[in-house]
Amino acid sequence: MLNKTLLILLSVAALSACETPGVKPNTDDVNGIDGTGTTETNGIDTIGVEGGSEFGGGTSTFVLSECEPDCEYPASALSNPDSMLAKRLVFFGLNSDEITDEFSNTLIAHGKYLASNPGVKLRLEGHTDERGTREYNLALSERRAQAVRRFLMLYGARSESVSVYGFGEELPLALGSNDTAWSENRRAELVYDSNN
């Protein structure tokens, strides 16, 4: 199951490699609570993915437009506003911690950057929208950050380079009780340590 999920993920990454991935809220997410079951189940499929080593061979099957399979990201790439590394937000569906295809290229870039620069530290800060209970959302937000961390580790980020934080629904990006605000708030933020 795990391998299958990853294969799908990688093939999608390969297909979309020529496009510039846009970081934008996932607006076509499930409306209402009824989608909860399915998305949660998808999240559970990735149980126990703690590192990328067992999939090491897979990373060479796709091409990234700005960084070829075995390329090294220079440390300075982080400050290039045109780099994919400039995208620091990942958005999620309602009650879901699943990373959707549209964010895979961005996260592959960050994963490879961290692999090339093992001294760099990254904070992943998970958030939810305002719906549902605060404490459940706190747990869900941490889970979103953890999902991003697992993804980055698949591409070579070291576990000690990436720390995970959950802020629940407490720090919204957008105020307001509507679909637009909600989809903007269901997010994980990639925050590079300014001392890097």
């Binding site: 609570i33 909860t36 209970t133 706190l138 889970r143 934080y165 959950g166 720090l171």
Partner: protein
């Protein structure tokens, strides 16, 4: 549902000196039509040239009306206004159809010291049901008025009153400078009617999940002051804070055990959120739940033997119950796909929770014996249910006019009210235990 009248009763009251700007509105949005008619006559006061230091009868009327079980006669409809039992013409009161009558007198006995005399009568028989005289310091006048409400409520309903209690909640004030929104959070404690609000903890980072110790001295709560969710307690008498759980990951949802010796909370220190129980003396922790699912929002059963909690083990959040020493959990909720944030009534029979359906999150009560779930609130993002210590009302957070407010609903759903504190966004209410002195 049909036999209910919707009444909107707006009592605008000015809050005390603790927070001169806080204006409190209590709006009874729904009351039962079989509420007992009662007359509470304005209390006597006879110090020349000095205003009465408190309006005892208004406080008592507002309390009793808030329960939804009483309907107080308007002062304008009173034919006479006796201040003691000797001068009552019961025929007058029978003619305005009240069942019970409260009369009283406020006296000054020394500087800052007063006495409140109060009597309760059955109007039909003319029999006195209660008669008390309370010596009171000026500062305790409101508190004593709430105590009088408790005594009357218990005499007439057989259930202990919960008016002389407190509530804790989080108030948020947002200010915008340019594009940046700055929020300031304060954990506050007020009387159960919203009066005398006082800030206990202030922070520029979010505060949440206040929970009372059974002796009413401590609040446990969650603070992000160190950029991650950590569990603290604050002593309400001294203001002293203690950090109890700050493990790697999230630390949240603290709740004291009914005996006050333990604290259940959530921690993701093992990699994903699980319930732990901490012995407050030794600080030793026991892990209660395991597995990949989100497990959070613990609540103790009334006898302290079990812990109810939210788990995502079957997909969406549902309520489960497990022995407080750990073991196999049993699923408790089966209605719908979102049930979370459970609160247990003192009778252990009623469970209040947030129930999500069709995009709306509302307060529902599950009767464990009949397994019937009843949705009691009608907002779209109602949260944080908390039982009154007598189990009759549920306090919760809702939205009104674009901001967070507190509301209360009776467990049978027959009466509902909103507490509107005008400054800030109010959320995360927790009703205190009973006051120790009866």
């Amino acid at each position: 549902m049909k036999n209910l009248i919707n009444t909107v009763l707006l009592l605008t009251l000015i809050a005390s000196s603790f927070n001169a700007q806080a204006v409190l509105n209590v709006r009874v949005t729904k009351s039962a039509n079989d509420a007992q008619p009662i007359a509470i006559v304005p209390f006597g006061w006879s110090v020349e040239g000095e205003a009465a230091p408190a309006d005892i009868s208004s406080i008592v009327s507002a309390d009793l009306e808030r329960s939804g079980q009483f309907k107080a006669l308007a002062n304008a409809d009173m034919l006479t206004k006796p201040i003691s039992g000797q001068k009552i013409n019961f025929a007058n009161w029978r003619s305005v159809n009240v069942d019970h009558l409260v009369v009283g007198n406020l006296r000054k006995v020394a500087a800052e010291m007063y006495a409140i005399d109060v009597q309760l009568f059955d109007v039909l028989s003319g029999k006195q049901l209660l008669g008390h005289s309370y010596p009171v310091h000026k500062k305790a006048l409101r508190k004593t008025a709430h105590h009088i409400s408790d005594v009357i409520y218990e005499k007439l309903t057989g259930v202990r009153g919960a008016f002389n209690t407190r509530i804790a909640y989080v108030s948020v004030n947002r200010s915008k400078t340019g594009q940046k929104i700055k929020a300031s959070y304060s954990l506050q404690v007020a009387d159960a009617d919203g009066y005398n609000p006082r800030t206990v903890v202030k922070s520029s980072w979010p505060l949440l999940s206040p929970s009372w110790s059974p002796d009413g001295v401590y609040l446990a709560y969650v603070s992000f002051r160190n950029r991650q969710a950590e569990v603290y307690t604050v002593n309400l008498k001294t203001g002293a804070e203690q950090k109890l759980a700050a493990f790697k990951g999230i630390n949240g949802a603290p709740v004291f055990s009914p005996d006050g010796n333990k604290l259940a909370f959530t921690s993701s220190k093992s990699g994903n959120p699980d319930i732990y129980v901490m012995d407050l003396r030794s600080r030793k922790q026991t892990q209660i739940t395991r597995g990949y699912a989100i497990e959070t929002e613990p609540a103790w059963s009334a006898d302290g033997r079990d812990i109810l909690f939210t788990s995502s083990r079957t997909g969406g959040p549902q309520i489960y119950s497990v022995s407080a020493s750990g073991g196999k959990a049993k699923r408790v909720t089966f209605d719908g796909r979102y049930n979370a944030s459970v609160a247990v009534a003192p009778n252990n029979q009623h469970l209040a929770m947030v129930h999500g359906a069709a995009g709306k999150y509302r307060i529902a009560v599950l009767d464990r014996e009949s397994a019937l779930l009843r949705v009691l609130s009608d907002g779209s993002q109602d949260e944080s249910p908390s039982f009154a210590p007598n189990g009759r009302m549920i306090l919760y957070a809702t939205q009104a006019m674009g901001k967070g407010v507190l509301a209360a609903v009776s467990v049978d759903g027959r009466t509902k009210q909103q507490l509107l504190l005008t400054d800030g966004d109010i959320r995360e209410p927790a009703w205190s235990p009973f006051n120790k002195q009866r």
